[in-house]
Structure formats: structure tokens, C-alpha cells
């Protein structure tokens, strides 16, 4: 019981994710700044922002539904933190695992987006509401390709558990090559999920100020930002676990370092996209997801089914 509590609250649970999330935000901001020929923030900037926001006044709009308004940041944080518990970190085994945890992780990672919708909608500000509707509209576009890509990998490994997938791909590294199309599509869909450029439509500052977060301030905004950072590292860790399961047998220390490197590599790819693309329009984004990403993800499922057919022989 004591160990489990330690695992959940300290390492690799809440506290670790807190630090890692801030570190990832720093890496993201620094790389983004360097790509733009700027100096970028010092390493403690995300922490300083967080602390400063915590100390700021909480302003809740009169029109807003106070309960939902306060609950949503916490729920977003809870969703992304819980998802991390089922993702393998340094070994092939996650902290908790059972047959079907892929579905649970994907489900838990959808919760932050839903909270963005509800938080924005119940803020009752026109910018927040437009941002909220955009979040939700976008959700239906990027979730399908992302789910199908991860599903395709699971199909090939013949398991619904992330830990068992890690075991399978560690043993059969050659199969990873077939999943690379899925990796690319999943990465692009992830940009939509994390609301990063070119899919940062729900937060388009030149149109709708800050979208969902327009009315949020102080502690609640700090929590939302934190959950956003943690969602980024957890989703990156998920992609790393599914598509880059290298070095899982090297022991805890090397494995842990590799885990950090792999996750930050995906974060770096996200920053690269942020720096090199303009923001698409909502209709263009949905077109892109349904016309190109979804069929490509479907192709990935087909490829894996065919390979699996050969394996069975």
C-alpha cells in the first residue's frame, strides 16, 4: 500500500510528472525560441510562471457556472496524470497494467479536451464558447486517426495492453518498421490533441483571444496550464512506448534516461511543427484529418492485418 501511494503521488506519479511537465514546457519554449532566432526563456521560467499564477487573484465571471468552472482544471489534471500510470517507463512493465489498458489510456487522454470544452462553455464568454466549440469539433477530427494508428500497433502485437505491446515489440524489433506510417499520422493527430500549431485553432489568439482559457485566471489557469504540460509529456510518452520501444531491457537507470530522451524527442518534434507551420482554419483541419489522416491510418490497420495474416501462417 505504502509503495503504491509513493508511486502514485511521488514517483513516477504526480510529483515526477509535475517536474517533467515543466521541463518539457521549457524544452518546447526554448527550442521554439531558438528556431525563431530568439534567446528563449531561462530554465526556471515555466516554474516561475506557475508560482506566479498561483499567487494571482482568481476571477470567476458572474455569468459562469462556478462549480464546473472550478472543477474542470482539476479534472483535466486528474485525467492526464492517471493515464501515465499505465504507460511503461523504464522496463516493459507499466506501474499498473491489465488487458485493455490501451483503451483506458486513450480514454483518459481525451478527458482534458472534454474539460476544455466544458470549462470554456460554462465560462459564458463569447470567446471561450467559440474556443470550446472549436476544441470539441477538432476532437472528432484528430481522435479517429490517432486511435486507429495505436489500434494498428496493438493488432500486430495481438494484445490490448501497453505493457504487453512493449514486450512484443522489444522481442520483435523488425515489426516496428511497419508502424512508421502510423507513427507519423499519430504524431500529426497528437498536434491536434495538444492544440499545437498547425492545429492550435481553439486557442487562436488573433481571433478568439485565448479560446477556452480567456476567462481563467490565477490558480485555475495555473492548473489548466499544468494539465496541458502533463498531457503533452504523457501523450509523448504514449507514442514513445508504442512506436519507440528501444532499450527497455537495459535496467532502470539507462531505461529511465532513454525514456526521458525519447519523450523529449517527441516534444522537440512538436516544437518544430509549431515553428514551421501557420495555423490552419478549422475547416481545413477537419478536411486534412478526414481526407488524408484517417485513410492513411486505415491503410496502417490494413498493412498490420496483412502482416499478421502472414505471421499466423
Amino acid at each position: 500500500m505504502g509503495t503504491q501511494l509513493f508511486n502514485i503521488l511521488i514517483f513516477p506519479g504526480l510529483c515526477f510528472l509535475f517536474v517533467f511537465g515543466l521541463a518539457a514546457e521549457f524544452i518546447d519554449r526554448k527550442i521554439y525560441a531558438r528556431l525563431q532566432n530568439r534567446v528563449g526563456p531561462p530554465w526556471y521560467q515555466p516554474l516561475a510562471d506557475f508560482v506566479k499564477l498561483l499567487a494571482k487573484e482568481n476571477i470567476i465571471p458572474e455569468e459562469a457556472d462556478v462549480g464546473v468552472f472550478k472543477l474542470m482544471p482539476v479534472l483535466a489534471l486528474a485525467g492526464s496524470v492517471s493515464a501515465f500510470l499505465y504507460i511503461p517507463i523504464w522496463g516493459t512493465r507499466a506501474l499498473f497494467s491489465f488487458e485493455g489498458d490501451v483503451i483506458v489510456v486513450l480514454y483518459l487522454l481525451t478527458i482534458p479536451t472534454l474539460t476544455y470544452f466544458l470549462g470554456g462553455w460554462y465560462s459564458r464568454s463569447v470567446y471561450s464558447m467559440i474556443g470550446a466549440v472549436r476544441s470539441l469539433t477538432q476532437l472528432f477530427a484528430h481522435e479517429v486517426p490517432l486511435f486507429m494508428c495505436i489500434l494498428a500497433s496493438a493488432l500486430l502485437a495481438d494484445t490490448w495492453s501497453l505493457s504487453d505491446m512493449a514486450v512484443f515489440y522489444s522481442a520483435h524489433k523488425g515489426f516496428l518498421a511497419f508502424n512508421m506510417l502510423g507513427f507519423a499520422i499519430a504524431l500529426m493527430s497528437l498536434l491536434g490533441k495538444l492544440e499545437k500549431a498547425p492545429f492550435d485553432i481553439p486557442e487562436a489568439e488573433t481571433e478568439i483571444v485565448a479560446g477556452t482559457f480567456t476567462e481563467y485566471s490565477g490558480r485555475f489557469f495555473a492548473l489548466f496550464r499544468m494539465s496541458h504540460d502533463i498531457e503533452m509529456v504523457v501523450a509523448s510518452a504514449l507514442l514513445a512506448a508504442v512506436y519507440l520501444p528501444f532499450g527497455l531491457t537495459l535496467g532502470p537507470v539507462m531505461g529511465f534516461i532513454l525514456f526521458i530522451v525519447k519523450t523529449l524527442f517527441i516534444v522537440a518534434l512538436i516544437s518544430l511543427a509549431h515553428a514551421s507551420f501557420a495555423r490552419l482554419r478549422l475547416d481545413q483541419m477537419i478536411d486534412l484529418c478526414w481526407k488524408y489522416f484517417a485513410p492513411a491510418a486505415f491503410l496502417q490497420v490494413l498493412i498490420n492485418l496483412v502482416i499478421k495474416g502472414f505471421l499466423a501462417k
Binding site: 528556431l35 530568439r38 498547425p198 492550435d200 481571433e207 515553428a275 501557420a278 495555423r279
Partner: protein
């Protein structure tokens, strides 16, 4: 352009305070989903009463006041004003002064267009472009500071010429800076023609056909991107433009992408002109002495500002203060086009469509107040009403443009 309001319509206030606007101005959008069904443009948040203030000050004081109409095309306004005053006073300014004015004018165009490119990038969420263009814009800003002593309000014009000469070392420095700028401009041209998300966001957005652009009176790059062959520098040469060899960039894309191309290509024309100016600059004095009191008379001066045609009207009454100063900045001519461009577009296109005319609201804001002689009341009027009053006024004098308008615009 009000449509009937449905229950599903949402009114979104863009401004007077909004992150996409650099100056306070209000656009009240009515949305159906993501589509814009109607736009209300409310001007006037930047009204400073500059025209009236000019009447209270001497011509030399006015020069500095006029320069502060705009923070970007400051040289445009001051040159347009000074040209009008010189015309009334009958001053023939030295050739070298004309060349220096043109040099600063073209450097100003370079910095204004680079600034616009960055703003356009920011409006479509492509901040990298903003950072790159504004980094390179520093080169021309520094150059302007070396030449004139200031980065923004150069204060180089004076009635009768210019206040500072260009030394051979400065000319050398300017030529070197042109090389650097030309290199980065080539990079931006390549970027604009290859970066797919940027092209997707810019092309087909804010379309104004050639006929509509003529009808709504679009000027500058906004008009030229809709195929209007009009540039004061060529059509009515002032300063040293008559002696320079340059092309007027015209594009037929009719959209924001076309406006981007026109501006980026105009940058290259500006580099070409600056090189010619530095090479052919004649020797001689840089100013002639101007009288303190300007003889009675009136003049209209036209000037191709980075944003389009800038027009100044000055009426002198023989004292050291002008009787009337009227400024028609390019944004006032282009603002009518914006409402036309926004209709039936998506909310996401709003920032870039507004930005695409390169608006300068503080140039534009004017107030017209009317003293009604019958009721002894003061009232303010909107633009359309003043336009109708103008038409009525000319009709009473027997001049009727209705038939002519029908013939040209098929209204």
C-alpha cells in the same frame, strides 16, 4: 450590411481592445457557426483632432505634428504636406534634397513592408515569420537612424528641402545593408511561394475582384493585387521618382496571397531604386530658404505611401499658419474594401483580411461634426451620410454623376 438575425447567430466583438488589433478599432462580427454573416466597422477610437491642431500652429510646427499622424509612414505624411506647402509658396527645391527625400521614402517602404509581412505571419499563427522579418527589419531601422537620427519619426523634411545631408560613408553603409536585405527578401519570397500552410491560409481569402476594387476605391498594394495599374510614383511623379527606373508591381490573384506577393516584390523594386538613388545623387545644396509666411493659395499633394495613395490638401491665407489642412490617408480609402472582403468568410480569416490592407487606424480617424443652423444643434455624421450629402451638393450645382456611375460600375 445587416442580415436578419437568427437565434443561432453570435455577436463577437473584435475590438476596441483585442489581441489581433494593434490599434483600438471596433469590428462587430455576427457569426453563424464559424461563418461571418455581417460586419459593423466602428471607427473613431483614435481621433486626435490633428487637422484642427494644424490650423493653430505655424507651418514648421505643423510639419512635426503631421509626421506624428502615423508611426510607420511618418515620412509619407510629412512629405505630402511639405510638397503642398512648397507648391503654394512656389519654392523650387534643390535636386539633392529631392533625392534624399526619395531615399528615406523608399527605406520607409522597406521597413513598412517587412513589418507588414511579420504582422501577416502573426495573424495566421505563423510567428516564426514575424520573428524573422522583424529581425531583418532592424537593419533598415538602424540605417534610417544613421541617416536621419531617428528610427521612426525621421524629422528629415523641412519646408524648402531636407535637414540632413547623406555622407559618402553613409551611402556605402546603405548599399551594404541593401545586399543583406535583398538576400533575406529572396528568402521570404521563397518561403511565401513554398510554405504550404501559409499558402493555404492566404490564397482565396479576402477576395476583391478588379471591378469591385475599382468601385470601392482600393489604393496601394490592396488595389494593385486586384489588377489596378495605379501608382502615384509612376503616374504623377514627385520628388526624384521621375528620374528613377522601376516597375509597378501588379498582381491578379485578387486575394491576400496576391497582396503578399505585391508587397514582397515591391521590396525588391525599392532596393533597386535605393541603389539608383545612391549612385546618381547629384551634388549641391540640400535646402532653400523658405519664407515664414506662406502666400495665400491652395494645393493638393499626392504621395504613394507604403499603404497606398496619401493625399494632403493645404489652404494658406498669407499668414504663418495654414487656413485648412486635410489628410486623406490610404487606409480611409481601403477600409470600405474590408467589409466587402469579410462577408461570408470564416472567423479565422478575419484577422488576416483586416491586416491585409495594412490598416493604420490612427491615420484614418476623422470626425466630422456639423452645426445645424436651423436647430442650433451639433451632430456627428457617419461616412455614408457625408457621401450622400456630397452627391446632393453637386446635384444642386447641376453636376450629376449618377449616369456616369451607372455607365462605369453598372450600379
Amino acid at each position: 450590411m445587416h442580415d436578419s438575425h437568427n437565434a443561432g447567430d453570435v455577436q463577437v466583438p473584435i475590438g476596441p481592445q483585442h489581441p489581433s488589433l494593434k490599434e483600438p478599432e471596433s469590428f462587430l462580427l455576427t457569426l453563424r457557426g464559424e461563418k461571418i454573416t455581417s460586419v459593423d466597422v466602428i471607427l473613431g477610437y483614435n481621433h486626435r483632432g490633428i487637422e484642427k491642431a494644424c490650423e493653430e500652429r505655424t507651418y514648421v510646427q505643423d510639419l512635426y505634428l503631421i509626421e506624428r499622424i502615423c508611426g510607420i509612414c511618418s515620412h509619407s505624411h510629412s512629405t505630402a504636406f511639405v510638397q503642398a506647402v512648397e507648391e503654394i509658396a512656389g519654392l523650387d527645391i534643390p535636386k539633392r534634397a529631392k533625392y534624399i527625400r526619395t531615399l528615406v521614402a523608399e527605406l520607409e517602404r522597406v521597413h513598412s513592408h517587412l513589418l507588414w509581412l511579420g504582422v501577416a505571419g502573426h495573424e495566421v499563427g505563423f510567428d516564426t515569420l514575424l520573428m524573422y522579418t522583424w529581425r531583418d527589419r532592424e537593419i533598415v531601422m538602424d540605417l534610417l537612424a544613421t541617416l536621419t537620427g531617428n528610427r521612426v519619426n525621421y524629422g528629415i523634411n523641412t519646408i524648402g528641402g531636407v535637414r540632413r545631408d547623406v555622407t559618402p560613408e553613409q551611402a556605402e553603409e546603405a548599399l551594404k545593408a541593401m545586399e543583406k536585405l535583398e538576400e533575406s527578401t529572396n528568402y521570404f519570397i521563397e518561403l511565401a511561394s513554398k510554405e504550404i500552410t501559409l499558402i493555404k491560409r492566404l490564397s482565396g481569402v479576402g477576395v476583391v475582384s478588379n471591378e469591385d476594387a475599382v468601385k470601392l476605391g482600393a489604393v496601394g498594394p490592396t488595389g494593385r493585387a486586384s489588377g489596378i495599374q495605379r501608382d502615384v510614383r509612376r503616374d504623377d511623379p514627385y520628388a526624384a521618382y521621375g528620374e528613377l527606373d522601376f516597375d509597378v508591381i501588379v498582381d491578379n490573384h485578387n486575394d491576400v496571397y496576391g497582396r503578399t506577393l505585391v508587397r514582397v516584390k515591391e521590396l525588391k523594386e525599392s532596393f533597386k531604386m535605393i541603389r539608383q538613388i545612391l549612385k546618381n545623387m547629384p551634388d549641391g545644396p540640400i535646402a532653400v530658404k523658405a519664407p515664414r509666411k506662406i502666400p495665400a493659395g491652395e494645393a493638393v499633394s499626392r504621395y504613394e505611401a507604403p499603404r497606398g495613395e496619401d493625399m494632403h490638401y493645404v489652404r494658406a491665407n498669407g499668414t504663418d499658419k495654414p487656413d485648412r489642412v486635410k489628410v486623406r490617408p490610404p487606409t480611409l480609402a481601403n477600409i470600405q474594401v474590408v467589409a466587402h472582403m469579410l462577408k461570408d468568410r470564416y472567423l479565422a480569416d478575419m484577422p488576416i483580411v483586416i491586416a491585409a490592407i495594412d490598416p493604420c487606424f490612427s491615420c484614418t480617424d476623422r470626425m466630422i461634426s456639423i452645426n445645424n443652423l436651423d436647430t442650433k444643434k451639433k451632430e456627428t455624421v457617419i461616412w455614408n451620410k457625408i457621401r450622400l450629402m456630397g452627391i446632393e451638393h453637386y446635384k444642386k450645382q447641376g453636376i450629376d454623376f449618377t449616369e456616369l456611375n451607372k455607365k462605369f460600375f453598372m450600379v
